[in-house]
């Protein structure tokens, strides 16, 4: 039993460089607080963990259905504001504890996702992209119009902390992040025998008309993508509000929506791991660039332009293509230095 598990592990993880790197990376993330205690670095990593959830959920909605969502901050902001309003007790009843506010906030974001779908699912391609842009901006208008509930420009301050210590915050964000990414990855895994959504979402992205002709209710699966993606973006929004201890209009900004797209496309769209790489690369880079504040955004935008010019598929996908080679006969993934397939010994060239 144990030896069989070990053999599977060796075949499915260790032999595939991409997966081995991912495993080592995630294990390393667990040990970071043992070596690094500077609150600033931990804070950066906590934000990175939250934004990984956010960017992956964007990839889930947009990458896999081919519908570019320009208003992803809507989910983030709805969840942040819902958690904040429940946590501060106004206008209804008691102050809710944090373990209730974040899930309820995420559910509110899911509801927002369904509402967004009413017009969005009638549209395709660029139309959808431009319509989704509108929703967070409309909500920002509503927030500024109802200052007694939302605090207007200042937001809702003094929320409960996630936990008392920063290290605990880090582990909570890390575990939530791993769990969310794992679930979304599983939902999109085309080779999974258990869950069919992966292969269906891939089919919709490749050719929506063909998918419909094959009897797939594409509208239902797009709705599904919006619900799942909205929920996890909401989880990220709730965590963010409680970690920052404030929910303000910045959680609905255009820049935040664009950040999600930039991180994901930079790493590689339609891959889940691309979004993870994008955030862990670009977010700390942005923090590091605070040493040259005037040139920070310029350098950032410049790097994005240059990387996309030379690797339009995204950096993670580009690296992966260099490291891995698919066997032409049995479709098994091999390390780049092998000249014959590890299973069927077919030539890889």
């Amino acid at each position: 039993m144990l030896s069989r598990f070990f053999r599977d592990f060796q075949g499915d993880v260790v032999a595939i460089p991409g997966r081995l790197i991912a495993l080592v990376f995630f294990v390393l993330l667990f040990f970071i607080p043992l070596f690094v205690q500077q609150p600033y670095i931990l804070r950066t990593l906590i934000f990175a963990n939250m934004f990984v959830i956010f960017a992956v959920s964007w990839d889930f909605i947009s990458g896999y259905t081919g519908q570019v969502n320009f208003g992803h901050a809507l989910f983030f902001g709805v969840a942040a504001y819902t958690s904040a309003m429940l946590n501060r007790g106004a206008p209804l009843g008691p102050d809710w504890p944090i373990w209730a506010t974040i899930p309820i906030g995420a559910i509110a974001a899911t509801v927002a996702g369904v509402l967004m779908c009413l017009p969005a699912l009638r549209l395709r391609g660029p139309y959808l992209a431009l319509v989704t842009l509108a929703f967070p901006l409309i909500l920002t208008g509503i927030i500024f119009a109802n200052t007694q509930f939302t605090g207007g420009e200042l937001g809702i301050p003094n929320l409960d902390r996630i936990s008392e210590s920063r290290t605990t915050d880090y582990y909570i964000s890390l575990v939530v992040m791993l769990f969310s990414v794992f679930i979304m990855w599983k939902f999109t895994d085309a080779r999974s025998g258990l869950i069919r959504t992966g292969i269906i979402l891939h089919a919709i992205r490749e050719d929506e008309i063909a998918a419909r002709a094959s009897g797939i209710n594409t509208i239902r699966y797009k709705l599904f993508a919006f619900i799942v993606g909205g929920f996890f973006a909401g989880v990220a929004g709730g965590l963010y509000a409680h970690f920052m201890r404030i929910a303000g209009p910045s959680t609905l900004e255009l820049t935040l929506s664009f950040q999600a797209i930039i991180w994901t496309v930079f790493g590689g769209i339609v891959s889940i791991y691309g979004a993870v790489v994008g955030v862990y690369f670009l977010y700390p880079l942005m923090e590091f660039l605070r040493v040259v504040p005037e040139f920070r955004m310029l350098i950032f935008a410049g790097i994005v332009v240059i990387i996309l010019l030379f690797m339009p598929e995204g950096i993670a996908v580009w690296i992966r293509d260099k490291l891995e080679r698919e066997c032409p006969r049995c479709k098994l993934t091999n390390v780049w230095w092998r000249s014959t397939c590890r299973a069927c010994s077919a030539s890889l060239h």
Binding site: L123, A134, F258, I262, L298, G302
Partner: protein, 290 residues
């Protein structure tokens, strides 16, 4: 009040129409969402500030130089950046967005974030139907009308216009008919950038100039072309005036809620799209239909 609403709608609508028309042309011909479009509007407005205010050149000269320089920058951006990744739709959106941020940051470094203003081309005002109209506003509206008329003539009467429309209809067939598609794309990019530059030059004296000024019209242009129908010239012009009217109405009827003007315009767009998913005058392409 009604006269005020009409005058303001015409002025705003004229500017939005110029911006939306260029955006719509690029999308219609190249099938590219060029998100850096309003960055050129910002660059042209700063051009006026730089040439007319800092260097003290005469207005006509600074207008011309500003438009030419901006168009040059636009064409350079197209050749160096957009043209290379044209096939990857999401990448194009992202890369043009990044280009917009690059321009914004360059302006921040060159001119700092300080609020600037450009000198008015013509001072004074006149009264029409009991409304006081500043000459600058009249100039914006007339200038927009003239440029729109030129573009309409170009598209409908000249050989170049026919080639542009043919490429928009079907790139491959246009290529087979002997139209040099990449030259057409280049020309269209030039025309569109020049339109954005004209808009920027016209409104520069009426606005507070700062490097982030490209985002409010950015959102409006998106809403306008979606409302009017992507790639439709008529739609983007009508959409521009419709959404300008909505904005002006909110400002006039809700003086305390002027910050809601953007939200109201976007709401109108969403409502229209619920009933007409391809926009008011949208073109549904055979292979893109669902």
């Amino acid at each position: 009040m009604i006269e005020g609403i009409i005058v303001n709608t015409l002025v705003r609508g004229g500017v939005y129409a110029l911006l939306a028309l260029g955006f719509s042309l690029i999308f219609g011909v190249a099938r590219v969402l060029q998100l850096a479009h309003t960055a050129f509007y910002m660059i042209a407005a700063y051009g006026i500030f730089y040439f007319a205010d800092m260097l003290g050149w005469p207005p006509v000269l600074s207008i011309l130089v500003s438009i030419i320089v901006t168009t040059g920058i636009g064409l350079l951006t197209y050749k160096l950046v957009i043209d290379r990744v044209r096939e990857h739709h999401v990448t194009v959106m992202l890369i043009t967005l990044a280009v917009a941020i690059v321009f914004q940051e360059l302006m921040l470094i060159a001119f700092t974030g300080q609020y600037r203003s450009a000198p008015s081309f013509v001072e004074g005002n006149f009264t029409i139907l009991g409304v006081k109209v500043v000459y600058q506003h009249a100039l914006i509206f007339i200038g927009a009308l003239v440029v729109l008329a030129i573009i309409w003539l170009l598209l409908s009467k000249t050989r170049l216009g026919i080639a542009i429309r043919a490429t928009a209809q079907d790139t491959e067939v246009a290529n087979l008919m002997g139209i040099n598609v990449s030259t057409i794309l280049f020309t269209v990019m030039g025309i569109a950038t020049a339109l954005a530059a004209v808009a920027g030059v016209l409104v520069a004296p009426t606005l507070v100039l700062e490097p982030h000024m490209l985002w409010p019209p950015f959102v409006m242009v998106m809403a306008i072309i979606t409302l009017g129908g992507l790639g439709s010239v008529k739609g983007s012009i009508i959409g521009a005036f419709v959404l300008a009217l909505v904005e002006v109405l909110v400002v006039y009827l809700l003086p305390t809620g002027a910050f809601l003007k953007g939200a109201a315009a976007l709401l109108v767009m969403v409502i229209v799209l619920v009933f007409r998913p391809e926009g008011l005058f949208g073109v549904v392409f055979e292979e893109e239909r669902l």
